[in-house]
Symmetry: C2
DNA sequence: CTCAGTGCAAAAGCTTTGCATAATA
DNA sequence: TATTATGCAAAGCTTTTGCACTGAG
């Protein structure tokens, strides 16, 4: 159902050691099955800790919530994932994108659409207050109502 | 200080009932001393519930934390204040601004600078994904290091 | 073989809720 | 006076932490 991560499909040599998704080598973190799983889940969407936990348990029933929290915390500390702040509850996570990207949220259906837009540059150029700042991050949250929901009556 | 909503400017009839700061009349909420105080505090900056509570207690030692939470919750529900989502802990609140404004946060000293910039318009024009959206809110968080902190060694 | 990572359970924060009392409209 | 709001205390959630055991390197 989910694109498989361990596929040494037709290879018969020894499995290459590059981890399927994100690679932890060089970060000082050991790669464990739990971490691989959590990373794989975070790659699939924006989830909060509890949702990651629920999904993880489907494949690894004995994984603990503390491991989820600790792993998310560690990955964030090493900048491998990012913490997002939606209007809703708590934090959501996603693997760190290489380019600036932002979020458009429909307040009616909850759909979240990602888009890219180079705002740092623009802000630095046009906002006096930001001129002397060394900008390391920008996060734009835009909310409103998507076309689909607007048509659908109301 | 705030453009008054109930204006009987030079009328000399009975004392107008406008509350000093934000006006709750017409919202169905009763004006109590606690709410006046909380509103006054929120006007002073971006605080989380606990900080509002600490400040409120200086003037009204017996105010309860639940009242703070309930009041913030009610004000938010009626859109008199807004909930902000910084990187840090929990929610912060501020009185609802009339124009789009955003936040620049120094990761070193924690200073938060507000600035205005009409992003909705720009996003709607330039981002395909947003074209069919009816945008009701935009919140941009920019973080980095302010000039002051960058000079200060490191 | 070592030390980082895990699971479990308990603790710690933050936020909400029930209920009797106090205060507003 | 009729409600609505408050204070207090207790409950509910989410997140963190201590510890002994397990497993990656």
């Amino acid at each position: 159902m989910i694109p498989n991560s361990n596929k040494s499909a037709s290879r018969k040599t020894r499995p290459t050691r590059n981890t399927p998704q994100l690679n932890l080598s060089g970060t000082g973190m050991r790669m464990t099955s739990q971490r691989a799983l959590i990373l794989e889940i975070v790659r699939q969407g924006h989830f909060d800790a509890d949702e990651v936990y629920r999904r993880a348990r489907e494949k690894m029933p004995r994984i603990s919530l503390s491991t989820v929290y600790r792993t998310l915390h560690n990955l964030k500390k090493r900048s491998l994932i990012e913490e997002l702040h939606f209007d809703e509850e708590h934090h959501h996570y996603e693997v760190k994108p290489s380019t600036e990207h932002h979020h458009l949220t429909c307040l009616s259906c909850g759909r979240v659409i990602e888009f890219q837009y180079p705002l740092a540059r623009l802000i630095k150029r046009n906002v006096t207050e930001a001129r002397d700042f060394e900008i390391t991050e920008t996060e734009l949250r835009v909310s409103g109502y998507c076309a689909r929901c607007r048509e659908k009556g109301k």
